[in-house]
């Protein structure tokens, strides 16, 4: 790679920021079109009910109302699930309810009016008569013959029964164990809450049959394919999906939802633009939720603390229907992570995917991997407690040694590279571990309860390769596209299939390009989020943008330079092999004065007055990069907390994060993602919880009831890195968007339970709220 400017690796300020800090971003709700109408959805107030009748007459005659449609009108294909597991049952998920509703918030009718206020008024007038049915919300209770069934043809509400690993071998390993720790772990339901609520606007042009859909999506091409080909049944090329500035995704903007399909359908039916923007209440009810596992885990150790085996059974709550990636998250994004960073001879994991009368679940920052990391790191800590060993020492004893890569785990993955001990040593040093343990001991004697929690996590990011994904049930490839267009003046526009909704691609991708071509960053433009401009791309999730999307850009750049080299060689009358490209200049090896500037070569590519024989004019390349493997970021996080046993409150005193995300394009941006990710995971450990009552009513449906992390509950973070380049992509990067979340939940939970050790408390389920801690301390005191 050209190294003249070395933008790769430097913390330059973000190029997208000027529009955001001046209020000039364009989010979907900012889109306003002539003749626009506004949509409001009528949603089910019941968790499970038969629809007896829907009367829309009053609503239709209300002032300003344009139309009202129900499930009877909107007859489309169901919302698809894009990952098929063996034997999976995928009951159809209608765009608007068909005869039955299965969760609170399920869309039943859509009201269109000249203003959003008029639509909201009229929605109140839609009269839906329901016959309530018994609801089931707990995924373990739902998985029983006696449980109320959501679908007649899905007995015991079981969508799938999936497993990975060797059961017989694992059972055998447990027989030889000196110590077995066993724990029931509830990984509670979370609700994503990107600060921008989901929104969409559709505009149909009857004259041409073109439909344009603006939607808050992390993957506009995938949305286009699913909506056009599978749901609406319209030509894919007649649907253009634009995802402009998107205010955070965190997984909740991956799936294709009812609303954007309904709004598209209505715009076609009426021939007018239609916009819908979620109220936060609606986000709570109909954005895909995350996590919600009930797990029985057992870990076997020998006398010296070596992990011999891990046995896991999990009930995963899928919600009322399978969301787009609903089946993938608790299966292949979870089970294969259950070797952690440890050499474990054998692992067996069985997962039941269960339907319940709750909002469908899908990816939520980390998606499956935080569930796995929490399980691994809790179990290792429980093992350390049982064996009376220091949790850092027990981890070191079990780390995969640095000279064992690539490493084949017993649960499918081959880890690319790593040095787990190094990351932990660094974190221990940063936090002053030994001294801290001494302070903890001293503090305990004076009735002060400090806790130190470790999490040495691994994650799999940049999902790949497509062929393997296909064999495992993916209905899509997992590559990424990048089209690089060099203009006649040498300026460059990159069209990337990745989508930025906070990641800063307009900066990092431009760094990559400017560095590689040796041109000023101002000469580089990154375009994303428009299927009308960009070759088919897979979008942004699973921390894949730099590793897969960035590598696609890099691949295109190499092809561009190759053509440039041929043109330069021709112009300089030199052999192609003698041309070197450096600092934005093609020159002849050994005689730097015989040179053609980047701009001259670009211009000649378009003038085409003097090109090598047979060469086509132009300088533009599209590449599709399909990596040979996932990348495997890892690291060591340490949380230090103080728990007040009198009130049960937890204060985070320090948080140290050492991550290895391979090479880093922009350290400032990576640090920012770590801060945000860590905060998200702390939220799960201490506060966040999506709660349904037994009747399936969502009790946490506003930001008053659902506790998001706030500024005054958090410390300044101490971050550092180790750098182990990934060998599976040409730029050596891994992924950084989710590491924080994957690591921090376990680190904080372990810290709180470490603080509570003097009370004999070994485990509490999350969120570790003051009420739960206080009750546990009181109960312990009574013993």
């Amino acid at each position: 790679m050209a190294t003249a400017t070395r933008l790769f690796g430097s913390s330059i300020k973000r190029r997208e920021d000027p529009r955001f800090i001046t209020g000039k971003g364009t989010y979907v709700d900012d889109v306003k079109l002539p003749g626009m109408t506004y949509a409001v959805f009528v949603r089910s107030p019941h968790a499970h009910a038969r629809i007896k009748s829907i009367n829309t007459a009053k609503a239709k005659s209300a002032p300003g109302v344009v139309a009202v449609f129900t499930g009877q009108d909107v007859q489309t294909g169901p919302l698809p699930c894009a990952w098929l597991l063996p034997g999976i049952k995928i009951p159809p998920r209608p765009v608007l309810a068909q005869g039955k509703v299965r969760y609170v918030g399920e869309p039943v009718a859509i009201v269109i009016a000249e203003s959003a206020y008029a639509a909201r008024d009229a929605a109140e007038l839609v009269d839906v008569q329901y016959e309530p049915l018994p609801a089931v919300v707990d995924c373990q209770k739902a998985h029983a013959k006696s449980a109320s069934q959501l679908f007649d043809d899905v007995p015991e509400n079981q969508s799938f029964d999936w497993s990975i690993g060797d059961k017989a071998k694992t059972d055998e390993a447990f027989k030889a164990a000196a110590v077995v720790v066993k724990q029931r772990l509830v990984n509670q339901r979370l609700i994503t809450n990107a600060i921008e609520p989901r929104a969409c606007a559709a505009s149909y042009a009857p004259a041409t049959g073109d439909l344009t859909l603006w939607v808050t999506s992390q993957n506009p091409h995938v949305a286009r394919l699913l909506i056009a080909a599978f749901i609406l049944g319209m030509p894919e090329h007649k649907l253009r999906v634009i995802s402009p500035d998107v205010g955070g995704g965190f997984g909740s903007k991956i799936p294709v939802y009812n609303e954007e399909v309904a709004v598209s359908w209505v715009s076609k039916a009426l021939g007018r633009p239609v916009k819908w923007t979620a109220e936060r209440r609606e986000s709570f009810m109909n954005d895909a939720h995350g996590r919600d596992h009930i797990t029985e885990a057992e870990m076997a150790f020998d006398k010296a603390g070596k992990i011999l085996g891990l046995r896991v059974t999990t009930h995963a709550n899928l919600g009322a229907y399978l969301s787009t990636m609903g089946s993938l998250v608790p299966s292949y994004l979870y089970g294969p992570l259950l070797s952690g960073v440890y050499t474990i001879a054998t692992v067996f994991c069985r997962v039941w995917g269960v339907l319940t009368n709750t909002s469908p679940t899908d990816a939520l920052r980390g998606a499956g991997r935080p569930e796995a990391a929490y399980l691994m790191e809790r179990m290792v800590d429980l093992g350390a407690r049982s064996l009376d060993m220091d949790p850092a020492e027990l981890r070191k004893k079990n780390f995969i040694p640095a000279d064992k890569f690539p490493y084949q785990t017993p649960v499918a993955f081959v880890y690319d590279s790593g040095n787990y001990g190094l990351a932990l040593e660094k974190a221990l040093e940063m936090v002053g571990y030994k001294k801290l343990r001494e302070e903890q001991e001293k503090a305990r004697k004076s009735g002060q309860y400090l806790g130190i929690g470790l999490s040495t996590y691994i994650e799999a990011s940049g999902p790949a390769p497509s062929q393997v994904a296909g064999a495992l049930g993916a209905q899509a490839g997992l590559w990424e596209s990048a089209s690089v267009r060099v203009h006649p003046t040498g300026m460059v526009t990159v069209f990337t299939g990745s989508h930025s909704h906070g990641q800063g691609h307009e900066t990092t991708f431009a760094q990559l390009v400017a560095d590689d071509l040796g041109i000023p960053i101002e000469h580089v433009e990154i375009v994303h989020g428009d299927t009308g401009a960009i070759p088919f791309g897979m979008g942004t999730y699973g921390s894949r943008s730099a590793a897969v999307g960035g590598s696609a850009i890099y691949t295109s750049l190499q092809k561009i330079k190759e053509k440039g080299r041929k043109i330069a060689a021709h112009l300089l009358e030199a052999a192609e092999g003698d041309i070197v490209f450096e600092g934005g200049k093609f020159s002849v090896k050994g005689s730097p004065d015989r040179a053609k500037a980047w701009g001259e070569v670009a211009l000649m590519a378009y003038l085409a007055h003097n090109l090598p024989q047979g060469m086509e004019p132009g300088l533009e390349v599209a590449s599709f990069f399909d990596p040979p493997n996932f990348t495997f970021p890892y690291g060591a996080h340490i949380a230090v907390v103080e728990v007040d046993p009198e009130t049960g409150s937890v204060k985070i005193l320090r948080y140290v994060a050492v991550d290895d995300v391979g090479k880093v394009i922009n350290p400032m941006i990576v640090d920012g993602m770590v801060h945000g990710g860590v905060t998200h995971g702390i939220g799960q450990a201490l506060w966040e919880w999506g709660v349904y009552d037994d009747n399936g009513q969502l009790l946490t449906s506003t930001l008053m009831d659902y506790a998001m992390p706030k500024a005054d509950q958090l410390p300044m973070y101490e971050t550092d890195r180790t750098v182990t380049p990934s060998p599976v992509n040409p730029i050596g990067v891994k992924g950084a968007g989710e590491t924080g979340t994957i690591a921090s939940t376990a680190a904080v939970a372990n810290a709180v339970l470490d603080a509570l050790a003097p009370f004999g408390i070994t485990h509490l389920d999350m969120p570790l709220t003051p009420a739960r801690i206080w009750q546990a301390v009181k109960a312990a005191g009574k013993k």
């Binding site: 800090i21 209020g23 900012d30 990107a194 205010g247 936060r280 506003t702 930001l703 500024a711 300044m716």
Partner: protein
């Protein structure tokens, strides 16, 4: 009802429904879409504007209540193409990622620094309690505001 409002130094006059929220007036009637809506219960702070000198979540006000008010939105903060030190701080210290909460954060900080030009980290965090961010973990928002405080004090 007819209302007269000054926003970013420009006088506006409109006939509005009595129930129209101020945030909808600013976004949909006046067309200043830099003020965002993130919730419906006044928790998130994305819609924070400076209203007669006070940082206010404008989803909690009706447009008719704002008759005669002087309002500053994010679009009015930079003067003559010169970023306000708080905007500069957010850019310099990477105080934003997706940008959605940012206008509200910046305007909450604007009032904070007027009341307390040299706030401690704890004070900054306490004052941000009414503004939610899902991207940054607040770490760099705190640093952005510290940067702005220094800059505004001429340090």
């Amino acid at each position: 009802m007819k209302i007269k409002v000054t926003i970013n130094g420009v006088a506006y006059s409109h006939e509005v429904e009595p129930r129209l929220l101020l945030v909808h007036y600013i976004r949909d009637v006046v067309g200043l879409t830099g003020t965002h809506i993130g919730c419906d219960t006044s928790q998130c702070g994305a819609c924070t504007v400076i209203y007669n000198g006070m940082a206010v979540k404008c989803c909690t006000l009706l447009a008719v209540q704002a008759d005669g008010a002087d309002i500053l939105t994010i679009e009015g903060l930079a003067k003559d193409g010169q970023l306000h030190p708080i905007q500069e701080g957010f850019w310099e210290k990477h105080g934003l990622q997706c940008g959605y909460c940012t206008p509200g954060m910046i305007l909450a900080a604007y009032q904070m620094l007027q009341r307390s030009p040299n706030p401690s980290e704890a004070e900054i965090r306490h004052n941000l309690e009414g503004n939610l961010c899902r991207c940054t973990g607040y770490h760099n928002i705190v640093k952005s505001i510290q940067y702005a405080a220094q800059k505004m004090a001429g340090r």
